[in-house]
């Protein structure tokens, strides 16, 4: 195994296709998960019971091993891209649901009361006060979810979902370390890139007034 051998794998015509499938699976899963988790979090925000249920469902969901979820899609949905997408979406929901629910809950009552006293309507309070204040926490959930989904999408190969995991499996089956490491290094690089990208987005999304206090809190 030589570095040139690894580079040769990256130069294969199929490589961009595998990378694209991996990114597609991950982006769609996180996107759909946001569309499911965020409305649920908004719906339960004024009910303590609903909030508790959402957080507990999220906590249990987060404990489900990713391989278990992907493998379970096989007997019920079959092989391929779509079953992998369903499993990865289910995997992406819990972190977003937990953070969106807690983020909205932790907007202090005094702030909301003050806004109400200033004559803002409930929808204005949500759009101009609650969502901007909760945005960093919500986005932190999206980031956790995205990094986790990019990692778990590697396992989609086991149920025929494609992606960069294909290279790792091919490397193992052929006993070819160059293919194995090309797969491992590209997946690792994609995960780290996702983390860095979402970290930067998270910082950009934090309202200016919150930046200082947030830094203090997360010391």
């Amino acid at each position: 195994m030589t570095p040139e051998g690894i580079v040769r794998v990256f130069l294969r015509p199929q490589f961009p296709e595998l990378l694209l499938t991996h990114v597609e699976l991950s982006a769609l899963a996180v996107g759909i998960a946001v569309l499911i988790a965020l409305p649920v979090a908004l719906a339960v925000r004024s009910s303590p019971l609903g909030t508790a249920v959402a957080i507990n469902v999220g906590n249990v969901g987060r404990a489900v091993p990713s391989l278990a979820l992907l493998a379970l899609a096989l007997p019920f949905l079959g092989f391929g891209f779509a079953p992998s997408l369903v499993a990865l979406t289910a995997l992406a929901i819990p972190p977003i649901l937990i953070n969106a629910t807690t983020g909205l809950r932790e907007v202090s009552d005094e702030v909301v009361d003050a806004a109400r006293g200033m004559g803002l309507s409930e929808s204005q309070i949500l759009r101009d006060i609650q969502l901007p204040i909760a945005a960093p926490v919500i986005f932190a959930g999206v980031r956790t979810s995205a990094v986790q989904v990019v990692a778990s999408a590697t396992l989609a190969t086991f149920i025929g979902g494609g992606g960069l995991g294909n290279l790792i499996v091919e490397g193992f089956q052929r006993g070819d370390e160059a293919i194995l490491l090309a797969g491992a290094l590209s997946v690792a690089a994609l995960a780290v890139a996702t983390e860095v990208l979402f970290g930067a987005l998270e910082r950009a999304l934090t309202p200016k007034g919150l930046r200082l206090t947030r830094r203090k809190r997360t010391k």
Binding site: M1, N59, V60, R62, A63, V64, P65, S66, L67, A68, L69, A71, L72, L74, P75, F76, V147, V150, A151, S152, T154, L155, F158, I159, G165, I168, G171, F172, E177, L180, L181, G183, A184, L185, V187, A188, A191, V192, E195
Partner: protein
């Protein structure tokens, strides 16, 4: 030819395909139980090693703050690497190869971030007044660490152990791909043989194990909170 309603044929074909309890009964002692025991072993050994590394490291970097950012950065980088990729990299390292050792090394690596971070956060949460009072009572630095700081930091440390345990139990399933054994073996065998019963058994047990560990450690964490202890009325 005997007439059989189509729906009946479908049901007969589908039912054993989804969950064959007979298989579970017949193979419980031979396949299912060893996989479960192997899984608990892999996770337990990894967590024990990770704690033995992380607790002293956490105490050290809580003291020497300059070392904290690089340690957390490195551990965070390791944590971000997808498990199948880390397994693939580890098996190419001479002297490791496939098998439980590579799995345990990866599981330890994944646990260090959260364990070190929570140890430091736990030690930070001890009020300086408490440490001053302990010093005023004549306790040595070592006594303050073991009798004051660590006990007060324990709930936060246990919270870290809880996250690490759930993570480790989940990732250990993937370790079966590099011959690490455990419940993932049932899942991968089930996929290879297109036998849903094995997939569902492995996946359900791995999920149950992770959820049970999560809930169990959460209860322990709550018991360890000083206010919970006071409310419970016991010392």
């Amino acid at each position: 030819m005997e007439f059989v309603p189509a729906g009946f044929v479908l049901l007969q074909q589908l039912e054993p395909r989804i969950m064959d309890w007979g298989w579970v009964r017949e193979n419980f002692a031979e396949d299912v139980l060893p996989a479960l025991v192997g899984h608990v072993y892999l996770s337990g050994v990894s967590l024990a090693i990770a704690l033995a590394i992380s607790l002293p490291t956490g105490v050290l970097v809580a003291r020497y703050r300059k070392a904290y950012p690089p340690v957390v950065f490195l551990a965070g980088l390791l944590f971000t690497i997808p498990s199948l990729a880390l397994f693939a990299i580890l098996v190419t390292v001479p002297g490791i190869g496939i098998g439980p050792n590579a799995v345990i090394i990866a599981l330890v690596a994944y646990s260090i971030l959260v364990l070190v971070r929570n140890t430091v956060a736990g030690l930070d949460s001890v009020p300086p007044e408490t440490i001053d009072a302990a010093r005023g009572m004549g306790l040595t630095a070592r006594q303050i660490l073991f009798k004051v700081e660590l006990p007060l930091a324990l709930p936060v440390i246990v919270a870290g152990v809880r996250i690490a345990t759930v993570t480790v139990i989940g990732i250990a399933t993937i370790g079966a791909y590099i011959a690490g054994g455990g419940l993932g073996q049932l899942i991968f065998d089930g996929i290879d043989r297109l036998f849903p019963t094995m997939i569902i058994t492995g996946a359900a047990l791995a999920t149950a194990l992770a959820v049970a560990a999560d809930v169990g450690l959460l209860l322990l964490e709550r018991r360890l909170r000083p206010w919970a202890r006071r409310a419970g009325g016991q010392g």
